[in-house]
Subunit: 164 residues, 2 copies
């Protein structure tokens, strides 16, 4: 239960994993706070002008990671749980389960986020979206993973800087 | 991250979940130690005369929960991870992932164990085996879940009493 320090790396499988890495000009503790606090997350989590209309986060293994989006008037419900929480270092969540360890009918992905302090108030942010099948990974790429998560990383950086 | 106390209950779905409950005549801290320590676990974890021939446990969310059985000369490898660890209260593990949050090709179940201190050195032990589909739950029942997990609970109680 103390081995978190040994898990700074993520084993990457190009057939199943999509990855976005950015060096953000904002300190790690603020990036972490933006990811783990509903009142912050709603401000940057989807590409604008789409909106997060609801957010319930219970940031512990098995706790809810639920968000609702409004995309051009269409409501999208995203329900999941956190799998691993290492404050300011690593956050893992998935739609494979919902709260209470209930298996989802159609699990899509597991997100493995790592946050590295680069000094000078900068943070290396790495997001791995891991899929159960190569087909799901391809579908996610075709949905615009790089553009979407990239836009969101830019929004995150700008919003976090506003908290400085 | 402090909400563990609010999660003493397990939402039960009869279509997906198999459950075994036993009041064990052994104190909770020993039952917990038997479940989380390889050198203890190998002594009671499969119905005798079958044997556990290897055991690697990294008892934290995302840590390995790997065992190897010898069943009449057939080697069975079981690889998984812990999902939730609340010392002496709750232990959740699954074969849905292997270490490093790698999705398994054929996930079978999630085990949700709860341990309740009954006083007088006794422990209420509840094991829920949760499946992704009713078909998997039925297959597990047909494989002899109740007899197998029941035998193992009896072995666990006897072994834990030997540690008194």
């Amino acid at each position: 239960m103390t081995a978190a320090m040994t898990h700074d790396t993520v084993d990457f499988d190009p057939a199943l994993d999509l990855v976005l890495q950015r060096d953000l000009n904002a300190p790690r503790h603020l990036i972490w706070r933006c990811w783990t606090t509903p009142e912050h997350l709603v401000n940057w989590f989807v590409p604008k002008p789409h909106r997060v209309t609801a957010c319930h986060l219970d940031v512990r293994p098995g706790g809810a990671c639920n968000t609702t989006f409004d995309v051009d008037g269409n409501v999208m419900e995203n329900r999941g749980v956190y799998l691993e929480v290492v404050p300011e270092e690593r956050l893992v969540f998935t739609d494979t389960y919902t709260e209470g360890w209930k298996p989802a009918a159609e699990p899509f992905m597991t997100a493995i986020l790592t946050f590295e302090d680069l000094g000078d108030g900068r943070t290396r942010y790495t997001a791995v979206a891991r899929h159960r099948t190569p087909e799901n990974a391809k579908a996610h790429a075709d949905m615009g993973f790089q553009d979407g998560w990239g836009t969101v990383a830019t929004q995150l950086e700008a919003y976090a800087r506003g908290l400085l």
